[in-house]
Amino acid sequence: MSSSGQLALHDLRFSYESAAWELRIPALSFGGEPLCGIVGPNGSGKSTLLKIAAGLLAPREGAAELGGRPLAGMRRLALARRLGFLPQECSVLFDYAVEQVVAMGRHAHGGSLDLSTAADRDAVARALADVGLEALRQRPLSQLSGGERRRAWIASALAQETEILLLDEPTQALDLHQAAAVMEILARRAASGLRVVAVMHDLNLAGLFCDRLILVQDGKIAADGPPADILTENRLAAAYGDKIEVLRRPETQNPIVLAKK
């Protein structure tokens, strides 16, 4: 990954009127690792951080930059060709078919619901294949399961064919099997060049799939590094409290995080 594709935050300060903390990030960059997870307790500022990185929220001080250019100065359409964002909540106004939702990911490339160009059709077909929804492409969203619907959203973001994709809790409200399937999809795309940054709640999934974890606490970066270094009892206790236990999987030494009574 060349540094031109780097998404960097520097001297960032942001606060909500209602929040007790202020988001303060001296320097942080994404784009070095294929799959980066942002973890931390509820309300610690993970989603806020992601929204600022996506250019959806303007920081009070500092800036988010893509390839050295501040996001604030870029047109959204140009930005969306390089940087994708999938929000936590997706709700549809009309009952679109799966293929239409995915096709809307082509907006920044000039495409729209009816897939006018070959590039649009290819991107949509690839995204549908990657998430395994080819057979359901004509199905209305209302007839899908929660996991299938989530995969449709992810396919829409994948069809955007950006350098970096930011996702806010892509496995939210999915069962274990579906959540792992979603992470597999992201890991596969990450292996072929996409840089993925995901806010995650499930520390075990994060530890299993991510190449780097950023632990956020009260608006600050509490720790940043490989999962094995972040998912330790000491670090997690500082962020989540002491009712957490970390075991190691015997064969791989992967950390397993458990709640303690």
Binding site: A54, L77, A80, F85, L93, V101, H107, S112, L113, Q160
Partner: protein, 328 residues
């Protein structure tokens, strides 16, 4: 049937209505008399046809089209399938403005096709929309029922204000406005077509320019922003376009409700949710619908006329209630 053929089908209905409806009315017209001007003789039938009936049908097509297109776009930016100029109070506010301009001689100022009734209709539309939005924002957002409750209430208040003010107006002057108050097209002549076009056409053009960007908004604001839509700008221009178009209609035809609800819902069932098809088809179908209601109103009790606004309310109101009941 593919999407383009469906659009052509809507266009065909629109054109067919333009050709047929001028023949409907209290006075029976003869084809030969109407087209007598071809051989150099202007007849009474020709005058009725070209000076009264054709402008009236055109006005129905244009006004209905503008309202329907405004409704289709407003439903997306407010994420509320029941939003339209009347249910958001825009039509009511605009009508109040236009009414004040008409009854206060010292407010009246005309310049070509533009006059104070359009200016005050615009101000009324903007005021109503601003009020409804600020109320809805305070209690949970634009997608909620509060938006509709506030909108319908602002519409009713505007209607009430018109009634109160009309109490101070001499009865013979009021008779002029009676039809307009109920939402009617019988003031239609070529001059009022010009007045309607002066606002409706720019409003429609602004809405049409937003069509492609409105599509991703159907997936939510953050999702649309991530896909490259300048959400705030699209929402602002859509509200402006819909406001201008609705104010233009209210200024010449009074408060006409539910066309902006009926037409987009029917159209989406036929062409799907792509706004690049929904907006033009809503224009064509909304226009055809309003012109048809007006023709029915002229024909049903001829020589008496049922105001078209009353007919669209009777047709559209039940749909509104049915959709409201279906929402949780």
């Amino acid at each position: 049937m593919n999407k383009n053929r469906k659009i052509y089908a809507f266009l065909a209905i629109f054109v067919a209505f333009l050709a047929i409806f001028p023949w409907i009315g209290a006075e029976k017209l003869s084809l030969r008399q109407v087209f007598g001007f071809v051989v150099g003789e202007w007849t009474a039938d020709g005058m009725i046809f070209f000076q009264i009936r054709v402008p009236r049908v055109l006005m129905g097509l244009l006004a209905g089209g503008a309202l329907a297109m405004a409704g289709a776009a407003l439903q997306v930016i407010f994420r509320n399938p029941l939003a339209e100029p009347w249910t958001l109070g825009i039509a009511g506010g605009a009508s109040l403005g236009a009414f004040l301009a008409r009854i206060c001689p010292f407010l009246w100022f005309a310049w070509g096709p533009l006059n104070t009734s359009q200016a005050l209709a615009l101000a009324g539309a903007a005021g109503a929309l601003g009020l409804v939005l600020s109320l809805a924002r305070r209690s949970g957002g634009a997608g909620t029922q509060t938006l509709l409750l506030a909108g319908v209430t602002v519409g009713v208040i505007s209607g009430g204000a018109i009634m109160v003010v009309s109490g101070f107006v001499s009865p013979w002057k009021l008779a002029e406005f009676h039809r307009w108050l109920l939402g009617g097209l019988d003031a239609a002549d070529w001059r009022s077509i010009g007045a309607l076009s002066a606002l409706a056409v720019p409003g429609i053009a602004i809405l049409a320019a937003q069509a492609r960007s409105l599509n991703p908004l159907g997936l939510g604001e953050d999702m649309a922003a991530g896909q490259g839509v300048e959400v705030a700008r699209v929402r602002r221009w859509t509200a402006i376009g819909a406001g201008i178009a609705s104010a233009g209609v209210a200024a010449v035809a009074g408060p006409i409700g539910f066309v902006g609800l009926l037409a987009p819902h029917a159209v989406r069932r036929i062409v799907g949710p792509d706004l690049r098809a929904v907006l033009p088809c809503s224009f064509l179908f909304g226009g055809a619908l309003l012109a048809a209601c007006d023709a029915a109103g002229r024909w049903a009790a001829a020589p008496l006329e049922v105001p078209v606004g009353a007919l669209t309310a009777v047709l559209g109101g039940p749909l509104f209630l049915a959709l409201l009941a279906r929402r949780r």
